[in-house]
Point group: D3
Chain length 136, copies 6
C-alpha cells in the first residue's frame, strides 16, 4: 500500500533577493522591495511529504517522530533565526528565493531520507505565496 | 528544474444556482438553499498554481508580483463584490457552481499566462467545500 | 468561579449596504462596491462568548451542545443562504453592516439566553474585517 | 471536463498505538507516548477528494450535500467521540495509526461512492502531522 | 506601560466527562457522547496571556522563551498524550470539562508565574468550542 | 451603542534584539538567537481594534476602507520589507521587540485616528507568540 506522510515545521529568517551578476539598478527593478540591502524576513512554513510503502507491522510509513527530528535537525535548526543571504552556506552562490529555498530543503532531505521514499517539499513564504518542489 | 509557484487571493460575491432549462420545482429539489432566488454569497479563496522550469538567473519560476497582479486584475477585480449570477458575463449561460467558477478562472488565466506553464486552480467556496481544476 | 465559554458558527449570506434616506450618488460614494444593487456576499463567522458562574456539579458554565443548538436555530438557520437585505426581517429597516449584524445577533441571543449570563458577539465578515459587540 | 471536489469534516477520538505481536517493551520503544495504555486523543480532520467528469446539466461533479452526508454517516458518526482502539470494529486487528485510519476511511468510502469517481483521503492527526491515501 | 504577552501551546489528550455522584443514566443524559466510558480525545490548544508592566531595559514584559518553557514543563508535558480522566492527578476529583481544564491550567501557572503579572488562559477543545478563565 | 471594529494587516520585516547599553555577552545571554547580528525576520500580523459609538446613519463605527487605508499607509507601508533595527526611524533608540513594535504602532495610529475612538493593537510575531497593547 502506497501512502504519503506529511510533517509541517516553521522557521523565521531574514533574506534579500540579489543577483551578483547584475548591477544595482537591474536588481532593484527585478526584485523590487525584496532587493532591499538591509534585508527583510519571513516566518517560513515547510511541509515535507514522504511517499512509499506502508510497513504493515507498525502501521507506519515512517515514524513521524523520526521524520520530525530529521527536519528539525537538518532544516529548521540550520535556517531558524538566521540570515539566509549572509549566513547560510547553501545560499552562498544561490539567490534565496522561495523556489531555491524549497529546492535546497529538498536536496538536504534527499541526502538524509532513505531512497525508497519519494519526497515533496512545500514552502510557504507567506500565507499567500508558496512553492512546491518534488525533485524533477 | 521543474517547480510549482502558488498564489492565494480572495473575493466576495453573491450567486445562486439555477438551471434555466428546469422548472422551479426541480431547481429547488436539486440545488436546495443554493437556489434561493434572492441570492446568497461567499468569501471565495482562489489558489493559482503555476508549474514550469525554474529560471536560474532570477531563481524565480515566475515573478510572484506579476502573477499576483494578473490574478488581481483578471480574476479578483472581475468577481469581487459582484453577483456572479446576474452581473458577470462569464456566467451568463453557465451555472456559477464552485466547479464552474474554478473552470472559468482557469480559462481566464490560461489566456493570460504563457503556455510554457501548466496551471491548476483551487477554489474554496467555504473552508470545508472546495474544488480543483487543471484543464483536463 | 467566573468563566467564559465560546462557540463559533458559520453562515453564508448575500447583502448590500444602502441607506434609503440618501440618494444613489451618496450611497455609492459612502458604501462603494458594498452598495452594488446586485448584491455580493460573505461567509460570515460568528463567535458567541457567554460569561457567568461555573456550575460545580457539571463543571460546565453552560452545556456547549445547548449553546450550539441555540445559535444554530436562532442565528445560523435564520441567516444562512439568505439575502440579509431583502429577505431577513431584522434588516427591513436596518443597514446590514457587520456592526448591525453583530448587534442583531446579540439582541436575538439576549432574548434566548438566561439573563444571569453576559454575552459578547464577534462577527467576522472576512478574515481581516470583524466586529465585536457586548451590549453596551 | 475532469474536476475534483473536496469536503472537509472533523471527528474527535481516543486511540493508542500497539502491536499485539510485540511485548510491552518493544511497543513502548517503537510507539513511545502513543503507546500509553490509558489512551490519548486527537481532533482529526479528514478531507475527501472526489475526481471525475463534470455533469454539464448541474454544473456539479457530485452534489456536495450528498458527499457531506455520506462522510457524516459513514465516517464521522462512526468515529466521533469513540475510542478507535477499543470500540471501532475497523481497528479490531489494525493499529489505529494515522496511515491506517486514512486507509480505513478510503475503503469505507470506496464502497459507498460510485466507481466512476476516484477518491483521495487526507487525514490530519494534528495541524503538523497528516497523511494522504488514494488507494494504490 | 501596561502590556500583554501571549503564548500558544498544544497538547493531545483523552478524557471523558463523568460525575461520580450521579448514576449512569444521568451522566449519559447530561454529558451525552462525552460520557463514553471508553474515552475520546482532543487536540487542545492553550493560549496563556500575561499582563504587566513593560521592562524598558529589555523591551520585554516577560521573556517569551521563559514563558514558553514554563508552559511546556508545567502544562504541556503534564497533559500531552495522557488520559486526563484516569492519569492526571489534577482531575482525580474534578470533571475534565474544558472549563475545569482551563481553571486547572490557570492555577498551575498562577503558582509559577510572578504575582506582579495577571494571567488569563484560553483553552480550545476544538476550533469551535473554547473557554476563557482569568482567575475571578 | 458602543461597538468595536477590527482590521487585520500583514507585513514582513527583518530585525534583531539588542540593547546598546549592554556588552555582547549580556545581549547574547538575554536575547539568544534573537540577538543574531546578521538579523532574522518574521511575517508580522497586526490587528487594530477601534472602539466607539456606532453612527446610526451609516451603520458603521468607522468606515473599514478608511481604517484599512490608514493602517496600510502609516503602518504596513512603513514597515513592510524593511529592517526594523537599521532602517525604521521609530526604532532608532528602541529595541524592536514584539512589545515595542505594538506600542509604536499604537502610538502612530493614536496620532491619526480620531480621539473619540479607543484603540487596541494586537501584534503576532509568529502564530504562537503575540502581544496586545491598548495605551495604558
Amino acid at each position: 500500500m502506497r501512502i504519503t506522510v506529511c510533517r509541517k515545521g516553521h522557521f523565521s529568517a531574514a533574506h534579500r533577493l540579489h543577483n551578483p551578476n547584475w548591477d544595482d539598478e537591474k536588481n532593484q527593478r527585478v526584485f523590487g522591495d525584496c532587493n532591499n540591502p538591509q534585508f527583510h524576513g519571513h516566518n517560513y512554513e515547510v511541509i515535507v511529504k514522504v511517499t512509499g510503502e506502508l510497513d504493515p507491522e507498525t502501521g507506519y510509513l515512517i515514524d513521524l517522530k523520526i521524520l520530525r527530528d530529521m527536519i528539525n535537525e537538518h532544516v529548521l535548526d540550520r535556517f531558524d533565526h538566521r540570515n539566509l543571504y549572509t549566513e547560510v552556506e547553501d545560499f552562498r552562490n544561490l539567490n534565496p528565493t522561495a523556489e531555491n529555498i524549497a529546492i535546497v530543503i529538498w536536496k538536504i532531505l534527499r541526502e538524509k531520507i532513505d531512497k525508497k521514499y519519494e519526497i515533496k517539499v512545500t514552502l510557504y513564504e507567506t500565507e499567500r505565496n508558496f512553492v512546491e518542489y518534488e525533485g524533477q
